[in-house]
């Protein structure tokens, strides 16, 4: 185990050696994004995310982290360059049954549907028979601790509970790749920490490949196996920080000296990324 001060800090560009045995879950191959209004959100970026990694994108506002995440979800298409999922195009991968789930910044629940129906939505849209779908919904809700709230409407729940429901909805399709765009950004610190603890366990249990966007240094260090620090206008990768700690992270990790050290390193990297 390396000490935090020796954590690998790489400057851009980052040529990742192809040592992974399995195909990387996502490869970004000099993808660039220019919006129709001329905004250059992303300079050409190359990046690979391996199976089972928990990668966090962090950086100042407007550094293109959400854009990058949207490219990975195929909600946006790159203006130039391309992306591969398990070494294939998105359409191919999806038709072969690979599931990509996205957790948005807001819970984005349908206010007119009860929690169970909200969580069942991806299965309903995919035409999964009702009985099988219901069993999976029950399991997913139980997993995020909302087993007793299946028949509640979203408005009857707190912000943290809504976010959990949103996570349950992404888990119900048993995703191979989980993309999360600042999911806990609107929550108070206490709730956020609790959800982070649960997320760490979930991702470890399921060996989920996760890409996570956040503004929180503590959250990034606690969750990630690798942190990608981005810098702004146009968005680019500024540095990479590996967090070589045991998975799943125990809650006590937050109070350790190593945690503080990682946070300090990340903080100074971010300061440089913002100032650059």
């Amino acid at each position: 185990m390396t000490s935090p001060s020796e954590a690998t800090v790489l400057a851009l560009p980052e040529p990742r050696p192809p040592v992974a045995v399995a195909a990387p879950a996502v490869e970004v191959l000099s993808a660039e994004k220019i919006f129709p209004d001329g905004t250059r959100a992303l300079a050409p970026i190359s990046l690979a995310i391996d199976q089972g990694e928990f990668v966090t994108l962090i950086g100042p506002s407007g550094c293109g982290k959400s854009t990058l995440l949207n490219l990975m979800s195929n909600l946006l298409e790159p203006s130039d360059g391309r992306l591969l999922w398990w070494r294939a195009g998105y359409g191919d991968v999806v038709s072969r049954g690979r599931q990509v789930a996205f957790v948005f910044q807001d819970p984005t629940l349908m206010p007119w549907a009860r929690l169970a129906a909200n969580v069942r939505l991806p299965l309903d849209l995919a035409g999964v028979p009702r009985a099988a779908a219901n069993a999976r919904v029950t399991a997913a809700l139980a997993r995020v601790g909302l087993g007793d709230f299946a028949h509640h409407y979203p408005r009857q729940l707190s912000g943290g509970m809504k976010m959990r429901a949103s996570i349950a909805r992404s888990l119900v399709i048993d995703p191979d790749l989980l993309l999360m765009d600042e999911p806990f950004g609107a929550l108070d610190e206490f709730t956020r920490n609790r959800l982070d603890d649960e997320l760490v366990k979930l991702c470890f249990e399921r060996k989920l490949t996760t890409v996570f966007v956040t503004h929180s240094i503590y959250e990034a260090v606690f969750l990630s196996s690798r942190i990608i620090v981005m810098a702004g206008a146009p968005g680019r990768i500024f540095a990479t920080l590996a967090i070589d700690e045991v998975q799943p992270r125990p809650e006590s990790f937050r109070n350790s000296a190593r945690f503080a050290e990682y946070c300090r390193t990340l903080s100074s990297l971010l300061a440089r990324a913002s100032g650059a």
Binding site: F104, W112, A126, I173
Partner: protein, 266 residues
């Protein structure tokens, strides 16, 4: 909590009722005190007496007017919703047709009613058409707005899950549009009644029809002012009745989840 809610409801019924009774009392007493002639302003008791003696004809007239209003309202809802769906299919369709919907809306119905009555032979159909023209616009504009006002996050969610066009329409666009649609229904139900009455006024001067508006005109010619008031009262009651039905429908459908209705029954 429940008890408090109940007392709130009681207040919202009792308070306006007291105001109404006070006003009626003042009206009655003022008429008596200054002995206002009945052909200028009848006392509430005169009107009530008229309602009692003339109720068979007045009720028949009310039925006639309501029938036209309800027919027009149903036609406006069906056509308006279809047009809204059409508008949402493409911006081009909406851009080319919407100005004409506005044109129909801003042209005073009183001005086109005589034309409609000349063009359409059947009086019932002509009156219904008049009322439909008046009632359709809120349905079109509200439903179109509603079908377009979908949470962009939910649209992305549906896209991520590769929802088809029909799935998105049924599971996302229509439920999102419902609150707007019910708002349109409330306005439109009132307008349908107005349209029916206006149409009758025009048709009535042509000597046809037997709705409440015709009753008002006839009573006016005969200086039977209490009867005029009685007919007016029935029109108002019909309008309130329609509104209450719409509110009930809206509460039944949206009560569980939409802010507008959740606030209402607290």
């Amino acid at each position: 909590m429940r008890l408090r809610a109940r007392s709130e409801t009681a207040v919202s019924i009792i308070a306006p009722a007291l105001v109404g009774i006070a006003l009626l009392l003042f009206w009655e007493l003022a008429c008596r005190a200054w002995s206002v002639p009945v052909f200028l302003l009848p006392k509430p008791t005169d009107i009530a007496a008229k309602l009692l003696t003339d109720w068979p004809t007045l009720l028949l007239a009310l039925g006639m007017t309501l029938r036209v209003a309800v027919q027009a309202f149903v036609a406006a809802v069906v056509l308006g919703t279809l047009i809204a769906f059409l508008f949402v299919q493409s911006r081009l369709i909406e851009k080319s047709l919407f100005p004409y919907a506005v044109l129909l809306q801003v042209t005073p119905i009183v001005a086109i009613a005589p034309l409609i009555i000349i063009f359409v032979k059947n009086t019932q159909a002509a009156l219904t058409l008049c009322a439909t023209v008046v009632a359709i616009f809120p349905i079109i504009s509200n439903t179109t707005l509603g079908l377009r006002s979908v949470d962009p996050g939910l649209i992305n969610l549906f896209r991520m899950n590769r929802a088809g066009r029909l799935q998105t329409l049924v599971r996302l666009r229509i439920p999102s549009a419902l609150p707007y649609f019910f708002g349109g229904l409330r306005i439109s139900s009132g307008l349908a009644l107005i349209g029916a009455v206006v149409g009758e006024f025009v048709a009535g001067t042509g000597g046809r029809g037997s709705g409440l508006a015709y009753e008002i005109l006839q009573s006016g010619f005969q200086l039977d002012i209490p009867r005029m008031f009685a007919a007016l009262f029935l029109i108002t009651v019909a309008g309130v009745g329609l509104f209450v039905v719409m509110v009930g429908l809206s509460r039944l459908t949206l009560g569980q989840w939409h802010e507008s209705e959740i606030g209402a029954d607290m």
